[in-house]
């Protein structure tokens, strides 16, 4: 075993044991920061206004838990609306058809150009604007059907999802568009040269590759959306977590404890989403991860079995 050294191999010198630089500044600043932080926390925790008994009382109350569930449901529904709308808008925006492209541009211009808070209020008051929805020919007085806007306006869940989802679609559209543009032009050329029409190329070749760029960013948007749902409190219902907390403290005046309850739940859910997000980024950042290679190998093994079974049929089709 010692023979591996060879004639030129000298003995390895002793490893360097130097005294590391002492970062005194870091230690001192850390102590100061910790001291201030503890003082701040102490004054908050010990503050009589933050009634911890009330916090505990409301933290797991069914009324609160339902609010948490509603918040998650609204977030999910908004992101579905946003994703579907975003892909559609992005494809329209990049379309050669100037009508589609212009419609998408105008949509994005409006929904990104006005505050989401104002948009929520507009949706909340849509019933004032239109008491009925008419199906007919504008300016002619011809009406085929007419539906009261009441069921829509009174369902704050639907109003909330429309307001936030349609807003999200405008932002998602720009994300998707960036993703589509990031796909190499050679991919489209290769697909066209194989006779794939533009729609097919988009669906089978460009979008799947764009998704690698889009999905991690979309995770961030979801986390952001979770918090934005709290703006729906302006509609006055009890349709998500924060509006429920508001409803409670409007009556009990225990403002701070209920805000703490809301914060605890928001932090809890965003932390979980951040963990999932980190996983997503690791998965999609890798490009072609081991998981995909493994899955492909499995598919290959299955094929090998099938070909073994049908090998009799194939043997005859050879040529030499």
């Amino acid at each position: 075993m010692a023979a591996a050294g060879g004639p030129a191999a000298a003995a390895r010198p002793e490893a360097i044991k130097a005294i590391p630089i002492r970062h005194w500044g870091r230690w001192i600043s850390a102590v100061i920061v910790v001291y201030l932080l503890v003082a701040l926390m102490f004054s908050f925790i010990k503050n009589p206004v933050v009634e911890w008994s009330v916090v505990w009382e409301y933290l797991f109350k069914p009324y609160t838990l339902i609010g948490v569930g509603l918040t998650i449901a609204i977030t999910f529904a908004c992101m579905v609306v946003g994703a579907v709308g975003g892909v559609a808008l992005a494809v329209m925006r990049l379309s050669e058809n100037p009508v589609l492209s212009w419609i998408a541009w105008a949509y994005i211009w409006f929904f990104r150009g006005t505050p989401v808070y104002v948009q929520i209020l507009i949706w909340g008051n849509i019933g004032v604007l239109w008491s009925h929805f008419y199906g007919g020919l504008p300016f002619t007085g011809i009406v085929f059907t007419s539906v009261s806007s009441g069921p829509l306006v009174n369902n704050l869940f639907v109003v909330g999802v429309l307001a936030l989802g349609l807003n999200e679609a405008a932002y998602a559209a720009e994300l998707v568009r960036a993703g589509i543009i990031s796909v190499d032009a050679g991919q489209t050329e290769a697909a066209s040269s194989l006779g794939m029409a533009p729609t097919l190329t988009m669906r089978r070749i460009v979008l799947p590759q764009a998704m690698r760029v889009i999905i991690p960013t979309f995770g961030n948007e979801t986390i952001s959306m979770l918090k934005t749902t709290s703006l729906l409190a302006v509609l006055g219902g009890a349709v998500e977590l924060f509006s429920r907390m508001q409803q409670v403290y409007a009556q009990t005046l225990q403002i701070m404890p209920l805000l703490v309850v809301a914060c605890i739940w928001y932090l809890f859910i965003t932390s979980i989403l951040t963990l999932i997000q980190a996983r997503l980024e690791a998965y999609f950042g890798k490009g072609f991860g081991e998981k995909e290679a493994e899955a492909a190998e499995k598919r290959g093994a299955k094929r090998a079995q099938r070909t073994l079974i049908s090998s009799k049929g194939r043997a005859g089709s050879g040529y030499s």
Binding site: E189, A190, L194, A197, R212, R299, R303
Partner: protein, 280 residues
């Protein structure tokens, strides 16, 4: 590490029946370019190119970079629109319908149909990175020609085996060498059973020691009777397999003819100059 099976000696890339039948184009030339002009903005890239490629022939386009070779190739399958002249593949005008003396632009879907029978191989391979080798080959037959999955899979296995990649069916492009990727790309184009294959500098992005494996596949393809238009800098390939050679410079086909004339006894000074530099 490569574990490729070498391409079997005399292994054909095209089915015997396909070659024997020949493309049914009724005695027409496979490619006919008449006074093709193309400009990008104010820059004229092609200035009146005429050439013919007969079925089962290999035409090699040589010349300096920027001479218009690749643009001409891309015009053949209408990846680029030509500005003047006419370009026919198998007797069909590419990208336009001629009614009387008026040209009508074709819909994207109809252009796609025309392209489906013209294979193209790119310098940068352009394999679909989210699909394995076999999925790359199966994609267009299934999605465009509506071949059933099982048959497409069998043909893909067959084709990849013939280009020596029978062991790499389920590998993603990122895990393949350049030479292997380019052979997958050739198999992908052949899976559409094209009547014409276009090669745009297929070996220019390869490490020198990988050039041979791709050229071998192309030579076999030429011998099997595929009609090919090849843009390349590989003079050996041109000498060995080309039926016709053209030298492009400044958007013009300076000289064209059989390789033993153009490459051995060129008439034009420009050709002589180019050859002296390339063969030096």
């Amino acid at each position: 590490m490569t574990t490729d099976i070498p391409i079997p000696d005399g292994g054909h890339l095209l089915d015997a029946e396909t070659v024997a039948a020949g493309p049914a184009i009724g005695g027409q030339p496979m490619v006919k370019a008449e006074q093709v002009w193309k400009s990008f903005g104010k820059l004229d890239v092609l200035k009146g190119v005429d050439f013919l490629v007969q079925p089962q022939q290999t035409f090699v386009l040589l010349g300096p970079s920027g001479g218009g070779k690749s643009t001409l190739l891309r015009c053949i399958n209408h990846l680029e629109k030509i500005d003047a002249g006419r370009l026919y593949v198998a007797g069909e005008l590419m990208g336009y319908k001629e009614r009387g003396s008026v040209l009508h632009e074709m819909k994207a879907r109809d252009v796609a149909k025309q392209r489906a029978s013209i294979g193209m191989v790119f310098q940068r391979f352009n394999l679909f990175p989210h699909k394995t080798a076999i999925e790359n080959v199966m994609e267009a037959p299934i999605m465009v020609q509506r071949v059933n999955r099982k048959q497409a899979e069998q043909e893909a296995v067959d084709l990849l085996t013939r280009v020596g990649l029978g062991e790499k069916l389920d590998t993603y492009p990122a895990q393949l060498s350049g030479g292997q990727q380019q052979r997958v790309a050739i198999a992908r184009a052949l899976a559409m059973k094209p009547k014409l294959m276009l090669f745009d500098e297929p070996t220019s992005a390869l490490d020198p020691e990988l050039v041979g494996e791709v050229l071998d596949v192309m030579k076999q393809l030429a011998r099997d009777g595929m009609t090919m238009v090849v843009v390349t800098h590989e003079m050996g390939f041109a000498k060995e397999v080309a039926d016709g050679v053209g030298l492009m410079d400044g958007g013009v086909l300076v000289e064209q003819g059989p390789p033993n004339e153009v490459l051995v006894n060129p008439r034009e000074e420009r050709t002589k100059l180019f050859l002296s530099k390339v063969l030096a």
